[in-house]
């Protein structure tokens, strides 16, 4: 299946009209995007997975001429995005360029999987999200999968809520029919019906199922669909991981990945966490990690648009799983993946740290970089242990700067 494009990518909606279902949500988002003097500068799209939230964000932004800065707070891509958000106002195009007359000139911040942070106080909780919205210099679109809207309720203050529903069976069948026609697949109506019913309103998984069942023969009968099992996202991740690590060949792994429903980003991070458990030999581990690293580079290049590169992502990951199939021994999985939250590092904080480094550099004849790495960590500990250290007046630290240094802690 990695020879050709994945159908979920090939038929990824490019225009708003192409997105199936949730007409009302689409209309609400469009109205929000068009409206210059919107009352809420953020919007939250919530609802089950695979119904078009991300697709809508991409299609709508493209349609209106925005560039998306994506920020998934659960992985370190957010660092880049934070730097983007944190740029001084002068390097940004003015914020009121929101009409479609100014194509290609606006920026949009897209914050995915916001429910991951909202529910976890260690990661800053809802407060952290609200802070990002307040500090962002461009409008913010957020997406959440969690049906537990109560956790997200505090966000109502700063954002407009738009709800997405499961896509209806007839609509999914219609979409599958269209794809069959374009892919020259002869499918029995009952087979498409069964796929649609099984998908639980998740368009993405329906298309994946269709491809995995029908691609080889370009034909599909009801009998073929009996192999479909019901989908549950949590089980799916662990099963996929287990299958992935115990694979005998690159092709097998590749096939497994493209059939699975997992979130790519969470998956690659779980692979990273579990790799040392799979490969104890340093050479095998290094080789496997090198492939995962290559996969990550492809993921970076894909971003939010270049989905035609997805096959390279899968390919590299698959090679990581098959470095030494004979050395496989079952092991206990780490799941969900360990994640780093760098939401703490907003523009204000980076500026503050820069100022501190400048003061240290001036007194100690070192560059900002050396001050940051070779002095700040030590100074922080010294200040923590000697509250009224005479270093403070010597460096001319302000009380805010001292407070910042003291609080620079584990996240």
């Amino acid at each position: 299946m990695s020879n050709d494009l994945l159908w979920v990518e090939k038929y990824r909606p490019k225009k708003i009209e192409d997105i199936v279902g949730n007409e009302e949500a689409k209309a609400a988002l469009i109205e929000w995007l068009k409206n210059k003097r919107r009352s809420k500068k953020a919007v939250l799209l919530y609802g089950p997975p695979g119904v078009g939230k991300t697709a809508l964000v991409n299609a709508a932004s493209k349609g209106f001429g925005f560039s998306i800065i994506e920020m998934n707070a659960s992985d370190s891509r957010s660092e880049k995005a934070i730097n983007e958000v944190a740029k001084p106002a002068t390097s940004y195009v003015a914020l009121d360029n929101f009409s479609s007359a100014n194509k290609g000139k606006g920026n949009l911040l897209f914050l995915d999987e916001v429910d991951g942070i909202a529910g976890n106080e260690d990661r800053g909780g809802v407060g952290a999200i609200i802070k990002i919205v307040e500090e962002a210099r461009v409008p913010v679109i957020m997406a959440a999968n969690d049906p537990d809207i109560d956790k997200l309720r505090p966000l109502k203050k700063v954002c407009l809520l738009i709800r997405f529903h499961q896509i209806r069976i007839p609509l999914i069948i219609a979409l599958l029919q269209k794809i069959c026609l374009l892919e020259h697949v002869k499918a029995e109506f009952e087979a498409l019906e069964r796929i649609a019913q099984n998908s639980k309103g998740d368009v993405r998984s329906a298309i994946n199922d269709l491809q995995s069942l029908a691609e080889e023969n370009h034909a599909l009968i009801l009998q073929d669909t009996m192999a479909l099992t019901s989908r549950n996202k949590d089980i799916s991740m662990d099963d996929t991981l287990r299958g992935f690590f115990s694979t005998k060949s690159v092709t097998e792994a590749s096939s497994l990945l493209s059939r699975s429903n997992v979130d790519y980003d969470e998956f690659i991070m779980s692979v990273g966490d579990n790799l040392p458990r799979r490969y104890s030999d340093p050479e095998e581990l290094a080789a496997a990690y090198d492939f995962v690293s290559q996969a990550d580079v492809f993921r970076g290049r894909i971003g939010t648009e270049n989905w035609h590169l997805l096959k390279y992502f899968f390919n590299a990951l698959s090679r990581a799983s098959a470095v030494a199939p004979e050395s496989y021994k079952p092991f206990e999985l780490i799941s969900p993946p360990i994640r780093i939250i760098t939401l703490f590092w907003t523009k204000g904080k980076r500026t503050m740290l820069d100022g501190i480094c400048g003061k240290i550099g001036a007194q100690c004849h070192v560059s900002h970089s050396i001050a940051k790495h070779d002095f700040v960590p030590f100074i922080k500990i010294i200040l923590q242990n000697t509250k009224s250290s005479s270093l403070i007046p010597w460096f001319k630290f302000t009380p805010e700067e001292v407070d910042f240094l003291l609080k620079m802690n584990r996240y």
Binding site: Q166, P170, A174
Partner: protein, 112 residues
């Protein structure tokens, strides 16, 4: 008895101010000139339907509009009625006839 309403325009009997405000908050829009309600916001759709149902003192369902032929039809016509999680809600859909009609499907595709 079950009433089928058209989500784009339907009438309700006169209600007290608090109830009216609640309806608006739950997502309805009211056109004063024509005296018609329409659904504007779908975030609280289930609660909205319950409220309307209460006002009319009967079960309320909304008709569906087919994206292919443009006609309205009720969910009861649909084969997947029992499986549908958004049953009777005023969303767009495909009517049974269009879904199974091959010729009409090909004509529809011609538009692309």
């Amino acid at each position: 008895m079950v009433i089928v309403l058209n989500p784009k325009e339907f009438k309700l009997p006169r209600v007290e101010k608090e109830k009216f405000v609640l309806l608006i908050r739950l997502g309805l829009d009211y056109n004063r000139e024509l005296g018609l309600f329409s659904i504007k916001n779908y975030n609280n759709i289930e609660k909205l339907i319950d409220t309307v149902s209460g006002i009319l003192n009967t079960e309320v369902v909304f008709s569906q509009t087919c994206i292919r032929c443009g006609k309205d039809f009720p969910c009861t016509d649909c084969k997947y009625n029992e499986l549908c999680t958004t049953k009777d809600l005023p969303f767009s859909c495909v009517c049974p006839k269009c879904l199974t009609d091959r010729k009409q499907f090909e004509e529809y595709l011609e538009k692309f």
